[in-house]
């Protein structure tokens, strides 16, 4: 089998799309998405991006909603390991490539890292303009009036935007971009990130990127503050952390428990407590 599963021609095409995406931050580049040994919609875009950039020196981490141990993450990690033989890790710090589904790790990433997002719906205009040809022209003209109208309608009726995740962002003052379904809590982390951020949508055949140290702002009216999820008064029941993104878990008796969503972050907190 070839190194990293994809044939060289496919890799070269994806690499070209990646380079163009890096050069035009936030712009959606089309590519010929290949059949992968997982179903489309299960992370084939992120997988193809990872397989096209990975090499022998890399250490790979795969997370699904912050967790290294979920079905999607385990299977993708095992697959990439089987076709590349790279080192894998659950430690955010040690990884050079982090493939993620719907979360940005809790700790700040470094310049040596690349974050690869699995994206279900790459075009943020899809919610307001279902015709993709028209949406492309809107991107060309930087015409995001329909997005602003959506925000205005929400704000006038409900006092704020109702968008809970996948919050639209403006990249490098030019392109409105779908940040993949990350929670609003993670949206500010896109801005000025030290790591390169690559986004792959396999089913929709699109790749886009945010280079390091790039301005990324949530689309917001000037007089409205961008509010993220609030976990005030709640702590992780496992590690006691008070300032992380928490999962709400119901037990058999219907009682609510809170745990860190980022399992590596939670483990590291526990380890530090153990050392003390």
């Amino acid at each position: 089998m070839r190194y990293a599963f994809l044939d060289e021609e496919a890799k070269k095409e994806i690499r070209r799309a990646i380079l163009k995406a890096v050069a035009i931050p936030g712009y959606i580049v089309s590519f010929a998405s290949r059949e992968m040994p997982v179903a489309r919609g299960w992370g084939t875009g992120g997988l193809q991006v990872t397989l096209s950039i990975i090499n022998e020196q890399d250490t790979l981490k795969v997370i699904d909603q912050g967790c290294d141990g979920s079905v999607n993450a385990v299977n993708i990690r095992n697959f990439i390991k089987s076709v590349t033989n790279v080192e894998t890790t659950t430690s955010t710090k040690e990884a050079t490539i982090i493939q993620t589904r719907h979360r940005i790790p809790e700790i700040e990433l470094s310049e040596k890292q690349t974050l690869v997002f699995q994206v279900p719906m790459p075009d943020i205009l899809e919610t307001v303009e279902p015709n993709t040809a028209k949406a492309k022209i809107m991107h060309a003209n930087a015409d995001y009036s329909k997005l602003w109208v959506l925000l205005y309608e929400d704000t006038s009726q409900f006092g704020d935007s109702r968008i809970s995740n996948r919050y639209p962002v403006l990249v490098h003052n030019r392109y409105a971009m779908d940040p993949s379904p990350i929670p609003k809590y993670d949206t500010p982390k896109l801005h000025n990130s030290k790591a390169l951020q690559l986004f792959g949508a396999g089913r929709e055949k699109k790749i886009y990127a945010i280079p390091p140290y790039t301005k990324v702002e949530p689309l917001k009216f000037e007089d409205k503050e961008f509010k993220v999820e609030n976990f005030e008064g709640r702590v992780c029941q496992r590690c006691g952390c008070e300032n992380s993104f928490l999962d709400e878990v119901y037990d058999d008796e219907g009682k609510v428990h809170y745990y860190c969503n980022d399992t590596d972050y939670c483990d590291k907190n526990l380890n530090m407590k153990g050392q003390k």
Partner: protein
């Protein structure tokens, strides 16, 4: 006979190019193919669906055979390779359209080293700004700024020096002569 793993070379050289472009002005190592750094980069970038133009003395025959890329002219090529930093060639390449800004040329220039005009470089990929030296003339810098003044239209430029190093400039990079 020494065995060459071309695919390994490609993935390592691609990572260097990706790092160089995502952090404009930073310097990355590249590995040669057929004793040439330019051919190694050409082999990393070219495939059957892209076109290229080459102005220089290196032998592209093997690269043509391996990659099957289309030989084109300087106005239409996706990739333009040149043995020298040619200002006129830089002016000729396509910059894409507002609808499809990715249909633009990428330049790969050979140079002796990265010494030359002192510039302040800023833009995405750079933490604020920093001063560096680029192997280009003041005329080239003003052409670069002019061609990339109407974002998202523009060109990416890579420089390869004789020490097996690569340096990239993105279309979002802002160059200021010091």
């Amino acid at each position: 006979m020494k065995k060459i793993d071309i695919e390994r070379l490609n993935r390592e050289n691609f990572r260097s190019m990706m790092n160089a472009l995502s952090r404009p002005g930073s310097i990355e190592r590249i590995e040669p193919l057929f004793d040439s750094h330019l051919l190694a980069i050409a082999n990393t970038l070219l495939y059957a669906e892209v076109s290229y133009f080459y102005k220089g003395n290196e032998d592209f025959e093997l690269i043509n055979a391996i990659t099957n890329a289309k030989d084109s002219n300087e106005k239409e090529a996706d990739y333009l390779f040149c043995d020298t930093i040619d200002e006129n060639l830089f002016e000729a390449g396509k910059v894409g359209t507002m609808k499809d800004p990715e249909f633009s040329s990428t330049y790969i220039f050979k140079c002796k080293d990265f010494c030359g005009t002192k510039v302040k470089i800023s833009g995405p990929g750079i933490d604020g700004s920093f001063n560096t030296s680029l192997p280009i003339s003041k005329g080239f810098i003003s052409k670069f700024n002019e061609k990339n003044s109407y974002f998202p239209l523009g060109n990416e430029v890579f420089f390869i020096n004789e020490n097996a190093e690569i340096l990239g400039l993105s279309r979002t990079s802002k160059l200021e002569i010091l």
